[in-house]
């Protein structure tokens, strides 16, 4: 809702000045599990009222008002920083941003993006505060038609369509198994030595360090090296 208010404001200004509106939405791409993201959305909904794809709404609304709208491709990152970086590229006459009106715990934990942009921006900033549903009714109608499906958190990797045989599943599995053997053979062999050759396992070789202990400790670096080697080799299939 604050974003819609800001979009509408930007359009109003652009109409007066006969200017172009650049739309920027920064996804907060943090390593979160699905349920965490869902919890975020539910909370976001409390503040914003709608969850729709911002740039899409702006484009549609621009067509409605006859205003030139350009979308700026965005990468995930610190939100304020990303907005400022886009600003440096676009060199706008003005940045329009919505204030979500968070307070209390939410504000303490999430901070305010609008405030951050205002503080650091080298360009004039207009911040919309609060909103009136009736005033926003036209853009709201568009947003409601473009509600984002709720389940698009995890993206399937996009893969080339090729015949199954060319995937080299067998070769890949061979590589994996080979690498696995490098670690698993000495790992299981330690079990064998411990159970059948106890005298050998308890022979001290370095000070009081026994064969069994040295073997065990050596498995850690071996495992890490196996992982690194596999990563190198497997990159060929990426």
């Amino acid at each position: 809702m604050p974003a819609l208010a800001a979009t509408k404001k930007a359009m109003d200004i652009a109409e007066m000045m006969d200017a172009t509106v650049y739309v920027a939405t920064v996804p907060e791409r943090t390593p979160m599990t699905v349920l965490e993201q869902m919890g975020e959305h539910v909370e976001e909904y409390r503040y914003t009222g709608e969850i729709a794809d911002g740039p899409e709404v702006a484009r549609e609304y621009g067509i409605l008002r006859g205003i030139d709208v350009k979308e700026v491709p965005m990468r995930a990152g610190p939100i304020v920083g990303s907005i400022l970086r886009v600003a440096d590229e676009v060199r706008p006459d003005m940045i329009v941003i919505g204030n979500s009106g968070r307070s209390g715990w939410e504000r303490l934990t999430l901070g305010s993006v609008a405030e951050g942009v205002m503080r650091h921006s080298r360009y004039p900033v207009t911040m919309t505060k609060g909103y009136n549903k009736e005033e926003l009714s036209d853009i709201l109608a568009i947003a409601k038609g473009l509600i984002r499906p709720s389940m698009d958190y995890v993206r399937e990797a996009k893969v080339a369509k090729v015949p199954l045989e060319s995937l080299n599943i067998g070769k890949r599995l061979g590589l994996s198994f080979g690498a696995l053997l490098v670690f698993l053979a000495p790992y299981l062999a330690l079990g064998v030595v411990n159970s059948f050759f106890e005298d050998f396992a308890t022979t001290a070789i370095i000070g009081s360090m026994t064969v069994g202990l040295v073997w065990l400790l050596a498995l850690f670096p071996l495992g890490i090296l196996t992982g690194i080697g596999f990563h190198r080799l497997a990159a060929a299939y990426d």
């Binding site: 599990t33 610190p78 970086r85 370095i206 069994g212 065990l216």
Partner: protein, 542 residues
């Protein structure tokens, strides 16, 4: 007699970890700097989050604690927990991320479309394994409060249970990832600090000194059993470590095991192999570990993240091994005293904090207990979230109410979280005297028998069938659950088959075999073409 110094450090540490987590989230939103290295940060963040999620009370308290009471056999826990990530890296990490589903059950139904039997049995397994994994966390937490505040175990358990469950259900369900990262860092540093101070203060800077003392020490749990009824029991608290070790050695004549003797805990090849197999294949089947792979940004990051985890947890368990051996010797009077006073719950799990107190006073005791709480908090949060996600996504939305909106789903997830958490607390009441790492290895055994085989076969075998998948899950869960139950009830064998320290020696091969045989006789390969393309295909640039 409350230890206020330690208590305030514990509270401080937990508070700091939560505050730093909150701040870093805020910073990532409002920082003015735009760093191009964002992507690199993401895999490092993920490694740390995985590590924080993975290192639980079992790793922090249980591995070293177990080594301290029975010796080198329990070092299998550490190397097995570590090796599990290698299996995961080599066989499943990248394909699972590429398939890109929310939960392990959904990954299966991506291949075997609309197969509700598979989805439900897998969902049930997620809940069972994760709940079982939570129990030892609460056992550890209860013992910690017992040690820190002198409360009764039961009371401690209920208090900590209510705190942890409400933390996850109310606030922590959002953005726990940041907490995992911070807590991962705290855990690693706490273990390093304890080891360094132990070596410097007690062994004149010579880490091999630990081994030479341990090689002369009879494991306390074993010794305590042998000494039951012995008339000459000294006042343990008045003895030095060396004197206590010498006293026990004098009472127990003949060939006795020391800290480096294999077979004290897991006698015979079947027990050792059961443990080794259950652990190394268990990680790749743990639902909360698999879930976290879905948060990795790009599929190849799944590999780099895992390499980071290997380095972090590998060094962690290396340190824990030495800490455990040092604790056996240095805490010998305390451990013997607790065992013979029938306070096994402290003896089994509290070696790390007690060693911290010995080498670094109440400050390090506080850091160790605080670190353990962080471990418990982050792991239980990860587990409960996994349960919530699976119940909501695989069961509620799939079967009960497909049109549920997000608000409704989050509410269902919270209900499931509170339910599973409560069950875990109740179960923890009966398992107070078990080593927490041991209990976790049992959860690993079940995971190794269910999700590892079924995911492995699904991802790598084009001729795997839906009937085979169901057979794998059902066989794995049935056999492993029966043998875990039998073990906890103290049974020696089931119909002549010996009950081992871990069920996986039977249940993993059985599950693989069942899946293979049934698949060879049936032909519903599912959507194998698209599934394999997803899992192994070459990614297109976006």
């Amino acid at each position: 007699m409350t230890n206020y110094v330690a208590l305030s450090i514990v509270l401080g540490l937990v508070a700091v970890s939560l505050l730093v987590a909150i701040y870093s989230r805020r910073y990532s939103r409002t920082a003015a700097e735009y760093y191009v290295a964002g992507r690199k940060v993401s895999w490092l963040q993920n490694s740390l989050a995985l590590t924080g999620d993975y290192l639980s009370a079992a790793s922090f308290l249980g591995v070293a604690g177990g080594i301290a009471v029975v010796g080198i056999d329990r070092a299998w826990d550490g190397i097995g927990f570590f090796g599990g990530y290698i299996v995961l890296l080599l066989l499943l990490a990248v394909p699972l991320r590429k398939i890109g589903k929310f939960t392990a059950p959904e990954t299966l139904t991506t291949r075997f479309k609309n197969n509700r039997m598979i989805r439900m049995s897998a969902m049930f397994s997620v809940v069972l394994i994760s709940t079982f994994y939570i129990i030892p966390q609460f056992v550890g937490a209860g013992a910690l409060l017992q040690l820190l505040l002198g409360w009764e175990y039961l009371f401690s358990l209920l208090v900590i249970g209510v705190i942890v469950i409400s933390y996850v259900a109310i606030g922590g369900m959002r953005a726990t990832t940041y907490n995992q990262i911070i807590q991962g860092v705290i855990l690693w540093m706490a273990m390093a600090l304890i080891l360094i101070l132990t070596v410097v203060n007690m062994f004149d800077g010579n880490i091999l000194g630990i081994v030479s003392e341990a090689s002369q020490t009879i494991p306390p749990e074993y010794a305590a059993k042998e000494l039951i009824g012995d008339p000459d029991i000294p006042e343990w608290s008045e003895l030095t470590a060396g004197a206590a070790v010498a006293h026990v050695a004098e009472r127990l004549t003949g060939a006795q095991p020391n800290a480096l003797t294999p077979g004290v805990f897991a006698p015979g090849w079947m027990n050792i192999m059961a443990l080794a197999i259950g652990l190394v294949f268990g990680t790749a089947g743990l639902p909360h570990v698999l879930t976290r792979y879905f948060t990795v940004e790009r599929p190849r990051d799944a590999r780099t993240s895992t390499l980071g985890v290997l380095a972090l947890v590998g060094t962690f368990y290396l340190m824990a091994t030495f800490v455990g051996l040092a604790a056996m010797y240095l805490l010998y009077p305390d451990l013997m005293g607790y065992f013979l006073a029938e306070e096994a719950s402290i003896a089994q799990n509290m070696a790390v904090p007690l060693l911290g107190q010995l080498v670094g006073g109440n400050v390090l005791l506080g850091i160790a207990i605080g670190g353990a709480f962080c471990a418990i908090l982050s792991t239980v949060a990860g587990l409960l979230i996994t349960i919530g996600t699976s119940v909501t996504h695989d069961f509620y939305k799939e079967i009960i109410n497909p049109d549920a909106d997000e608000r409704r789903q989050v509410r269902v997830a919270k209900t499931a979280i509170v339910g599973a958490g409560t069950i875990a607390v109740l179960a923890a009441i009966g398992l107070a005297d078990q080593n927490v790492s041991y209990l976790v290895t049992l959860a690993f055994g079940i995971a190794a028998s269910v999700f590892f085989p079924v995911l492995f076969l699904s991802v790598w075998w084009t001729k795997f069938t839906s009937q085979g998948a169901l057979a794998t899950i059902v066989t794995g869960i049935t056999i492993s659950a029966i043998f875990v139950l039998a073990r906890l009830m103290g049974m020696d064998d089931i119909a002549g088959i010996p009950v081992l320290v871990n069920p996986a020696l039977y249940s993993l091969p059985a599950a693989l075999l069942a899946g293979t045989i049934v698949s060879l006789r049936t032909d519903d390969y599912g959507d194998v073409e698209n599934f394999m393309l997803l899992a192994h295909g070459v990614e297109l640039e976006e």
